[in-house]
Amino acid sequence: MSVAKLLVRVAEVEKINDLITRFRFVARDGGLLPAFSGGAHVVVEMEDHGTRRMNPYSLSGDPEDRTGYEITVRRDDAGRGGSIYMHRHVSPGMEMVISHPVNLFPLDGRAKKHLFLAGGIGITPFKAMIHQLSHIGAKWELHYATRNPALCAYGDQLKGPVHFYYDDLKSFIPLRDLLARQPLGTHVYCCGPKGMLSWVRATAAELGLPEHSVHFEEFTAPQPGAPFDVELTLTGKTIHVPSHQSLLEAMEANGVDAPYLCRGGACGQCECQVVKAEGQILHRDHWLTDEEKASNSKIMPCVSRFEGRSLAIER
């Protein structure tokens, strides 16, 4: 299935704080963009001086504002360059290509109450969700933890039942008490750093919250690693994956049409069968089961890498 694309122009670039910048896109033809659902992301395509980057970013604006989309990007100085490109090179007036919104972190419409737990840049999907719930009058509550007030993006704009916590001030989300006193029918949503997700997952399980009422945004940005070669058995090509490119990006750079949706190890769309692996697959996705990972029979090329003598996959 090909990915449906939207042709947009950058309308605004606003520095929110030292690390975080907000971007607003409008349709190049001056028309309306599709409405979207809170929690949705778009994949932003970047032509970074000869390297094609495609990074997913949550939409952080109002889903009913069809005149433009907003994303909020945290600069990751240790990352592979997508966020740095956005911060340094994207300016108003630039023409860009983004995917249609895709939602892998949707609201559960049956919830009697939506409880949001945000860590740092994890605020972005909740900002859109709060807009959406406000339109339909649903009940929500946000608990938002950042390092310090200066890095609390949108802190001044978030109104309503919002609670702030700052690591530097030693204030932390009172997670156990908070989860324990939620009314029946509450759905919990968590987006933040890995440690926070594990903490929430473990605490919710300990308290006996039903698994289906606790939701996690589990994007993983592809991490750099050692370069490796891979044989693509269907295409009949052997390609090189440099250290700062993902296997998926390397396939695309070599003209191989590979399916994708989230580019963050969550959706399963890019899954490939492994034909031969002499070495270790570094699984970094949230899609394959532990058994599948252990058997080295499948790989998710958007985030996972390889170390060893030779790898061959069906693509």
Binding site: M1, V3, P34, S37, H100, P101, P106, D108, R110
Partner: protein
Amino acid sequence: MLDLKPDFGGFFKDETFVGDFTFANSPSAVRRFPFPFDRDQYMYSVNIEPHVPTRPGSVLEHAFDIDEHYVSEMRDRARVLARDPLRCQSLPHMELAGWDLVELIMESLSRDYPQWFTLERSGNDWHWVNKPLGIDQRFTFLDPSTLPYGPMEYITRQMQGDFTLQDERDGNLWVDAGMVTTQADWSLDFDIGMNFFEWHAPVPLAHEKGIFDRALKFLLKLQHGAPVRRFNWTMTVNPLLDTAPETYPEWGPSKTTLTQANLGAKQHLRVELQSLFRLPRSNAIAFSIRAYLGSFQDLVTVPKWGRRLHRVVRDLHPDLAAYKGFLRNRDAMVEWLSKYDDGAPTSPGIWPED
């Protein structure tokens, strides 16, 4: 209430789908009939393709096909709903998906059929005009108190074909809303709230082939802006759109009335053009099931279709003929159709002229 003041104009037919069954396809409607068989045999497959406009004049020209039966079909839907309101149901969390459907349909129809439908918008103040049905409605988008029905019911009373809305959660799809009055013997009232595997449970052979696992995996990846479609088909005696389990005692016995003399006129191939759209605000999936009826005597006027229909019906797996409800009449159909099959080869694809 939606007060229909139909205007049949010069295009729409005034006909019935019950009682005296005056429904008939015009010659041009026969030529554009969505004949579903692209080869001389049939077995299940996940036969899904992108729902992109193609073939001007065909049923695939637009996102939603409005044809000569539109006004009469909407009158028939109102008749069925008056008798059994449970044919339309929407669980409370599906209202937003209903609004998504209102937007999708109104945008599509006003773009594709401006001579019949217009939509003017100023923010959330919308003005909808449906000329064939005599509807002129101003309403506030996302405010259900400004429409005479809930959003899904409102718009699907103006759309040919059935609709279901699937909520996506827990890695599955749940049929949590729908308007179902032109169905091939299944019940929304029975299926509502079921997940993808539950509502497909009665289908023979396909589970063993893993078709539903693959289909669900595919649908969960369905993206906004990239709808897909497939054809499905069955057989119906008389041009009855509403073949519901609830009313089986009324229409089931008609299967015993076929003779070689009346079969060409009474026996209809029923084709469903099924299309699936990811909805933007709700992240739900809209499933449009548009039924077309074609009498055997009309279909065999296309020589390719006459030959192929004979071969498909003759060679169909008996479990499928039983599931589709025509095993008892299969031999009679084959006998009637054999007169239109000279054994000549048929060209690939579904189109009459290819």
